[in-house]
């Protein structure tokens, strides 16, 4: 669904008024709802942690955020990946676990959205367009033993999960792993699983593999374990078996045998979003570290006094660069200090580190790290919306 590009907006990185609203409402929701849900990460088992996030996920769905990730033509409210990037950055910077549950569900729907027929979309998307419940979907691609060589010709095994036709059904057998939320809230399967499987044992990989939708809960989903992951502690990544899972013949998505191409298409947008997830974590860490550096003296006389320490922050402040290739290039010159900060961030950040450092120390007292993605028109509001500069900082800024 390519957006119509008007000449005046070519290479422009300002947000539309709607996008700015989306950003601010997402930020507010994250602060008010997602922040408190981090307590779930302290529980002892992965399943307990995941279950404890259910009310938060329900709130996310109730507030319409899942709908905002489903394209308008399919009945949702999403106008493009940029909108998703805006929501994802705000959410993920506050609670990566629950946000990944939602994004994993969107990924689980992508083969349907990209490859499904209008009839399939009508039939299968229903639960995900409501603003109620806790619907989950999972894109079942990775398998135990690894799937980096899913397209390997024989004797490589490639995709090991198989589907055979039996009457009006596909019967699926195999094992999957690392699929977000795939076994659902109760081990019986997510509402929708899009399963990458081999539908023709003899054909070459580019015509032998298909994606088949399975509606859950369904018989034959065998929960093996919830992976105890290093991070995303309150997100479910299970390992599970599909043992004679039956699904109607008409649930094959796209063309039979085109599963690898459809997988590739689904993962293209996801790649850009993972970049935004990187921005979100860096931004949250930067926010914390900047506040720490500006308030903590660590036994010394000044906050953030040393050149070496602030040099690091200056380098990190170049993180808006990471956002550009994801959300697109940066917009036209605009007046005001925000642009100066951006300009520096976008150039070689080592050569400019000292200038950056100066700005982080002095006018940084009224600058929010999130300002880098806000519109110039909001500059005043943003400044006064941020905690006022402590007197000590103001004095220090003058002296420097």
């Amino acid at each position: 669904m390519p957006l119509k590009v008007e000449e005046a907006t070519v290479i422009d990185f300002t947000l539309t008024a709607q996008q700015r609203d989306l950003q601010l409402t997402s930020r507010k929701f994250a602060k008010e709802v997602l922040n408190a849900a981090k307590a779930a990460e302290l529980l002892s088992t992965p399943e307990e942690r995941f279950l404890a996030t259910k009310p938060t996920y329900e709130a996310m769905v109730a507030a319409g955020y899942l709908r905002k990730c489903i394209p308008a033509p399919a009945g949702g409210e999403n106008a493009g990946l940029i909108d998703m990037a805006i929501i994802a950055e705000e959410f993920y910077s506050v609670n990566a676990s629950v946000t990944l549950t939602m994004l994993g569900t969107v990924l689980g729907l992508l083969p349907l959205l990209l490859g499904g027929s209008p009839e399939q979309c009508m039939r299968l998307l229903g639960p995900f367009l409501k603003t109620g419940g806790a619907p989950l979907a999972g894109f079942c691609s990775s398998e135990p033993g690894g799937s980096a060589n899913a397209a390997s010709p024989p004797p490589g095994e490639g995709v090991r999960t198989t589907a055979r036709k039996e009457g009006d059904n596909w019967v699926i057998n195999g094992r999957k792993k690392w699929v977000s939320s795939a076994t659902g809230w109760n081990r019986e399967g997510a509402n929708l699983l899009c399963v990458v499987c081999r539908t023709d044992p003899a054909a070459p990989p580019d015509t032998a593999i298909s994606i088949i939708a399975v509606e859950g809960p369904v018989k034959g989903i065998v929960f093996e374990r919830a992976i105890d992951t290093i991070g995303h502690r309150a997100h479910l990544v299970p390992q599970f078996g599909l043992q004679n899972v039956a699904t109607p013949h008409h649930n094959l998505l796209g063309q039979e045998g085109s599963g690898l191409a459809l997988t590739g298409a689904a993962f293209t947008g996801t790649a850009a979003l993972v970049g935004i997830l990187g921005v979100a974590l860096m931004r949250a860490a930067f926010d914390f570290a900047l506040h720490f550096a500006r308030t903590e003296k660590r036994g010394g006389v000044h906050p953030i006094k040393d050149h070496d320490r602030s040099g690091t922050l200056s380098q990190l402040a170049g993180l808006p660069r990471a956002r550009y290739p994801v959300a697109g290039g940066r917009g036209a010159c605009r007046s005001g200090q925000d642009f100066r900060l951006r300009g520096r961030g976008a150039r070689d950040h080592r050569s400019d580190a000292r200038g950056w450092h100066r700005q982080l120390r002095s006018r940084g007292a009224v600058r929010s790290p999130a300002a880098g993605c806000a519109r110039a028109a909001d500059l005043r509001r943003r400044q006064y919306g941020h905690p006022a500069a402590p007197a000590a900082h103001a004095v220090q800024a003058k002296r420097l």
Partner: protein, 416 residues
């Protein structure tokens, strides 16, 4: 014969003995890391730590001149690499104890050493010591002049006793096995509130049981899950007047001296973690096909990543051994080399660990594999033993600024 990187026969024995001990005793002890609370995890390592003491590994870290068996920091490095590669938590408990003893070993009198060291020279029990430098609120500016607070813990002389008041954090094992304190604490504190920092701060010895030591909490650390890092309070802890180590007021210099050798050892910690991750990843790459035809090591990207990791490990080990040797010889460039080993090793380890995780892929994000634990342990290396930004680069910066600094000093030292 100088510039020779081979081990002596004795060092090779030490290496093999340590490797065997690590495999037999420390590897099973990793199970402690799965327990729910920090104190439970630490307590569960006690049998492994006792076995370490019984096997003489603490003695092997205490210099010959003090009654131990250590012939130099190189020996410690050879031994520690083997132990740390298998179980960083318990090994850090051992090294934390050695660090706790260092002010005594470096600054203590004959009488102090004779009185306090024996429990640590025995091959029995589970003796602990802690060097109490870091305080809540941070200690990167411990040497700050006023109005900076610098060292906030104070010791006031009342009659013949010092009364210590203050809080400490991040001190390995400091509150001991039972919250009542390690056998010996060497406490950095301000003994003269009017003097400048280089004359107003001292290291005092606190022996167990110390009334007034109040456990506050065990830090829930990202790595070293079975190692104890407490926050605690010294509320009117009283010690005899002669419990000052080194000269009264010379605490900052003594601290600096203790942390020089420690810096080189942190570099060795980095080698150990990288090496463990490399061995795992090499085996994975040589045995796993991940759905393809060949083991993944046949892919150039995988092979090159492994090649880069191995190179980084060798570079770091050489630099660390070089630094350890310089510390042993008290070379003029010892401090520079030790700091460089610490900075380079610690930051290289974090990079190499993430590089190796990318080779293995998402599987490495599962605690069932060792790489996540190793990365979580590695993340501390740039931060502890003198943070790379708050302390170590500052020290290096100061060395480089000295008017007589000679950049070729490190490569021109001649055998004597």
């Amino acid at each position: 014969m100088a510039i020779d990187f081979r081990l002596t026969a004795r060092q090779r024995d030490l290496q093999l003995e340590s490797r065997q001990f690590a495999r037999q005793v420390l590897s099973p002890a990793l199970e402690a890391e799965a327990l729910p609370t920090a104190e439970q995890r630490f307590a569960a390592t006690r049998p492994a730590y006792e076995a370490m003491i019984a096997a003489g590994f603490l003695r092997k870290c205490i210099p010959l001149s003090a009654g131990g068996e250590n012939a130099g920091l190189i020996d410690t490095a050879v031994m520690v690499e083997e132990l740390y590669a298998v179980n960083a938590s318990v090994t850090l408990t051992l090294i934390g104890t050695v660090l706790g003893l260092l002010p005594l070993l470096i600054g203590g009198t004959e009488e102090q050493r004779a009185r306090l060291l024996p429990p640590f020279l025995k091959q029995g029990g589970a003796p602990l010591a802690g060097f109490c430098a870091t305080e809540p609120g941070g200690s990167a500016n411990a040497g700050s002049p006023p109005p900076g607070e610098g060292v906030r813990t104070t010791a006031t002389l009342r009659g013949e006793r010092w009364i210590i008041e203050g809080r400490k954090s991040w001190v390995s094992s400091a509150t001991g096995w039972d919250r009542k304190g390690a056998d010996i604490l060497t406490v950095l504190c301000r003994t003269d509130s009017d003097a400048p920092p280089e004359r107003g701060i001292s290291v005092l010895i606190v022996e167990r049981p110390a009334s007034g030591l109040v456990f506050e909490r065990a830090i829930e650390s990202l790595g070293y899950r079975a190692h104890l890092l407490p926050v605690f309070n010294l509320k009117g802890v009283s010690v005899p007047r002669d419990h000052v180590l080194g000269s009264l007021g010379g605490g900052l210099a003594l601290t600096g001296a203790c942390f020089t050798g420690a810096a080189a050892l942190v570099g060795i910690f980095a080698v150990a973690l990288m090496r463990a991750a490399f061995e795992f990843t090499l085996d994975f790459a040589r045995s796993e096909t991940r759905g393809g035809i060949h083991p993944i090591i046949e892919h150039q990207a995988v092979g090159y990543a492994l090649a880069d990791a191995k190179t980084a490990i060798e570079v770091t080990r050489c630099l660390c051994w070089r630094a350890c040797r310089a510390v042993d010889l008290q070379s003029p460039s010892a401090q520079e080399l030790a700091i460089e080993a610490k900075i380079h090793g610690s930051e290289t380890a974090v990079r190499v660990l993430t590089d190796l995780m990318r080779v293995v892929g998402i599987e490495s994000y599962d605690h069932a594999l060792p790489l996540g634990r190793l990365l979580q342990d590695a993340l501390a290396l740039p931060l502890f033993g003198g943070g790379n930004i708050g302390v170590r680069r500052r020290q290096l910066h100061a060395i480089l600024k000295q008017p007589g600094y000679d950049p070729l000093l490190t490569s021109g030292e001649v055998e004597v």
